[in-house]
Symmetry: C2
Subunit: 344 residues, 2 copies
DNA sequence: CTGTTAGCGCTTTCAC
DNA sequence: GTGAAAGCGCTAACAG
């Protein structure tokens, strides 16, 4: 039976109010009394009862702010799904979640959203930060002012968040290399990579890590090049087809699961009858279809929904249960999916 | 802001006690009053506050019984770890978990443990049931008497549990086949399987599913045979080595991650210099070492810890939050791990 | 410095 | 049938 403040109070021969002040170091307690109370608490292995605490939170109106960098796209709408699920779960604990969607990496909008949230009062902030000095300074200021900040999916080097929740892009690249090795065994093989803009840290890291791992561990597999994808899906489609038709010595592809790329690969294979096997990143309907059709051998899922869910729960634990994140960087597990992972 | 009973009471112009009785159909409420109260509750989208409820549970002393079929072995000690973690988490909600370990599939011991728990009073039972008429009848009787029963890792056909939590063995076989296909591509290949006793439904199902999937989807890969492992690890070691030395046309192996088998494979490879690639089931230190050494290409983890954890949480949700399990069979995800999944 | 008290939302008991 | 009140463990406000 877990110890309560009441028990401690009765043993110490003081009132429960005194116990409260002593254990929380709120002052206004005689030093020796405080010491005795703490001693008893330790003896009894006292831990505050989270749920009783939350009941009281009713009066405190705790709200967690969430700010994204863009309108929900395919990946981030999954993240938001996770956030909303978590929000429902913690509603009973009188913790609210307030969400603001940014737009197209616009930092002015983001700054405005931050200010509005601060004005209305939030107890913690989860944000996909936009890489911009104004944002960086604002966040630094807030964090120094004591607001716990959690980074979701992206990073700002000069701000020290409570925690970062997101994908381990280096590991994603390593796993990609490992999967290519499964396909190739120890035979010679050539790989071509397709990636969204390498200006973004995430994508660049992933490709670099892929290349590095191949060179270090699986030198029989060679990354022949990385094609940067453009914004325009139709241009991408055409480009991917053209490249694949020209390059006849490519055995494997490594690519994100974008519709335009996947379709281009599918159509090229159909047309030319060539055997190309693909390792994809991100699990969505296109990846699924490609696995069912057999040309995508495996896909690496970054579990976006889990990222959102975990982020909110981490903040909740910090706010309500006084549990600090164990690590500064919290990476969601990277799942390897093959065709057979899907059915059943 | 979530609605409370108090609000409903004030709107309906009755006392909170009446609201309670009306919403829970406890009787002793005038029919029209009850109807009105329910109407208001619906309008306000009232949901009872779980945590307030749990606070009250203090007086009810809810305990969940857990009974295993054997003393904790490698796999089940992980399951128990998950159970214990979950138990800690729900302790705040005044729900206790009481564990009894069986021994060697002894059904008399299990029956005794069931009876003792019932005598002392439990609110739900999680059990790894032993396949025996006496157990079956007892559980059937309890279940009909209203005790929610959850099966963990094993099944009894004639008892209808609240839910089954465990591994999807068919899927495990399918994924095994899919991984072998990754290794083989469309080349011809021979596979040999090592499995614990095929008298057990689990193991038999897994192998059958592997075979079936290969035949249906990947006919170029042939399961040449399944070797049943024995109890004695040293006999196994010798047997595996002998078989591998004789069979020169085996390309791949499919096996559980037991020390004796893995070591025999490693030693044989070292001795003969042959290239054999292994798909393993279960993740443990031997599987890890095998992947690092390169001869285990991938392993399929059944996430035992998660099974235990989820089981307790499912029971908790049912007991405290009135949430019934969504599906009758809850399978933990089967994870595919490769060497690169491990580091970092 | 210390003790008392009200109240968070709900359940249960008892009195009317 | 219905209402009032106590209490679960904790916090915060206030009185002493």
């Amino acid at each position: 039976m877990a110890a309560t403040m009441k028990q401690i109070a009765s043993i110490a021969g003081v009132s429960i109010g005194t116990v409260d002040r002593a254990l929380k170091d709120k002052g206004r307690v005689a030093p020796d009394v405080a010491r005795r109370i703490k001693e008893i608490a330790k003896q009894l292995d006292y831990h505050p009862n989270t749920i009783a605490k939350s009941l009281v939170n009713k009066n405190k109106n705790i709200t967690v702010g969430v700010i994204t960098h863009i309108k929900p796209n395919r990946f981030y709408s999954d993240v938001m799904k996770g956030i909303e699920n978590a929000a429902k779960e913690i509603a009973d604990y009188n913790v609210n979640v307030r969400i603001a969607y940014g737009s197209e990496f616009n930092h002015e909008i983001q700054l405005e959203q931050i200010n509005k949230m601060i004005e209305d009062g939030i107890s913690a902030l989860a944000i996909v930060p936009i890489d911009n000095p104004a944002i960086e300074n604002k966040l630094k200021e807030l964090q120094e002012g004591g607001l716990p900040i959690f980074f979701l999916g992206a990073f700002l080097d000069n701000v020290k968040p409570m925690a970062y929740i997101g994908t381990d892009y280096e590991k994603a690249g390593r796993i990609g290399a490992g999967l290519l090795h499964l396909l190739a065994s120890d035979n010679k093989a050539n790989v071509l990579a397709f990636s969204p803009t390498l200006n973004m840290f995430n994508h660049k890291t992933r490709i670099e890590s892929l290349d590095k791992t191949l060179k270090e561990r699986y030198p029989n597999i060679q990354l022949k090049g990385t094609i940067e994808l453009m914004q325009n899906p139709f241009q991408n489609y055409v480009m991917v087809r053209d490249i694949l038709k020209k390059d006849n010595d490519i055995d494997f592809l490594f690519t994100t699961s974008q519709q335009n790329v996947i379709e281009a690969i599918r159509d090229t294979i159909k047309e030319t009858g060539r055997t190309i096997r693909v390792i994809a990143v991100d699990y969505n309907e296109f990846a699924r279809k490609g696995m069912q059709d057999g040309f995508i051998a495996a896909t690496i899922s970054q579990q976006p929904e889990l990222q959102g869910y975990r982020c909110i729960h981490m903040i909740f634990d910090y706010l309500v249960r006084d549990i600090r994140p164990e690590t500064e960087k919290y990476f969601t597990e990277l799942r390897i999916l093959i065709n057979e992972s899907l059915d059943g």
